[in-house]
Symmetry: C2
């Protein structure tokens, strides 16, 4: 395990689950597009869901230029959390109940990206990251749409991960207590795509849609 | 649709998806124990995953009394977000891509609950909410464990929900564009429980473990 990149990034609770290596952090970020961002708006904390993607050591997300979040976070401190639930860990005591999970927490200053070419390129990366090649199949983005879309970035310099796997860790004396212990694994279920009834008659689903998965 | 309970609770983006009625808000909260909380720590925003549960018009979560979050939030403004992803909505333009989802956002002041009987009762509710009747099957909680556990509460007075379902809403002129549109539904997959190899030989799994599900 490598060291925490900054004091506030150092995991305190369950610190033995902490990971600071790039491979683990990038792996979790790349596995889960859904994330939550915290920011301060008029002095108060706000958390809102976002979809994030990554290029190199930078995290990206987008939204409406008119949104509260987008107006609040440019140049401001934010915290992004990406968390994947892998299972419920049923211990022999309530105190040792746990969740198998992979999570990443990133602290840093969000920066708006205003260059149109870079915005276009990153939005294409985002769309293609969900369904490969999909960007070029869509009605091309207009200048007005690009203008209405805010693209934000956050360096991954201050990131930490936490990973928990496996069976409960009960108190030594509890292993003789007659309660059933174990793990209920959970994950993401992706079901069969449902075509829009308004699709043109001769349009067929690109097989790449079937590769959408996460978690 | 009822009205927003406060100005900051009023949904601005996609405001036509907003719901402020108790039934919708409670339904989403009760369906998804995993949530994210934002708080301000040393002037900076932090978001961290929690497991929440509800009784009446109050949200609860627990953690270690020694944790940064638990030390930071008592008596402070927090924001809790509960979000459930139901599907990826593939539109004919990138701009109209969307996510089918159900989410709740709660603003308010967190309060620590210190009464031992109430803490015990709420923790039992939490454990039994995951696996019915499980609290009484576990090695009883000790006074020391109860002392180490912080219980926080948040009134649901300032809560709003957002619900999106169904197919994309493309620009009228895009319905003749020959791109496949549709929804890829997603949900939570709960797999078969895996017993701890250290279980006592005569211990069997309570059938209620199979009722654990969420989303």
């Amino acid at each position: 395990m490598s060291e925490a990149p900054s004091e506030r990034t150092r995991v305190r609770r369950y610190h033995w689950l902490a990971k600071y290596d790039t491979e683990t952090i990038h792996g979790i970020i790349d596995a889960m597009p859904f994330a939550h961002i915290a920011y301060v708006h008029e002095g108060r904390p706000v958390v809102t869901p976002i979809m994030q993607w990554r290029e190199g050591d930078t995290l990206y997300w987008h939204g409406s230029n008119a949104s509260r979040m987008m107006r609040s976070v440019d140049g401001q401190e934010v915290c992004v959390c990406i968390s994947i639930v892998d299972g419920l860990v049923l211990a022999r005591s309530a105190y040792n109940y746990n969740i198998n999970h992979r999570s990443v927490m990133v602290f840093g200053t969000a920066r708006k990206i205003t260059d149109d070419d870079e915005k276009r390129r990153q939005l294409a990366r985002f769309v293609n990251g969900l369904v490969p090649g999909q960007w070029d199949r869509l009605r091309p983005v207009t200048d007005q749409e690009l203008k209405a879309t805010a693209l934000l970035s956050l360096p991954l310099a201050e990131a930490s991960a936490k990973v928990r796997t496996g069976q409960p860790e009960d108190d030594d004396t509890d292993y003789c207590f007659p309660a059933w212990a174990g793990v209920v694994p959970v994950g993401v279920r992706v079901d069969a795509p449902v075509a829009d009834p308004r699709n043109l008659p001769d349009v067929t689903m690109p097989p790449e849609v079937l590769s959408f998965r996460y978690g």
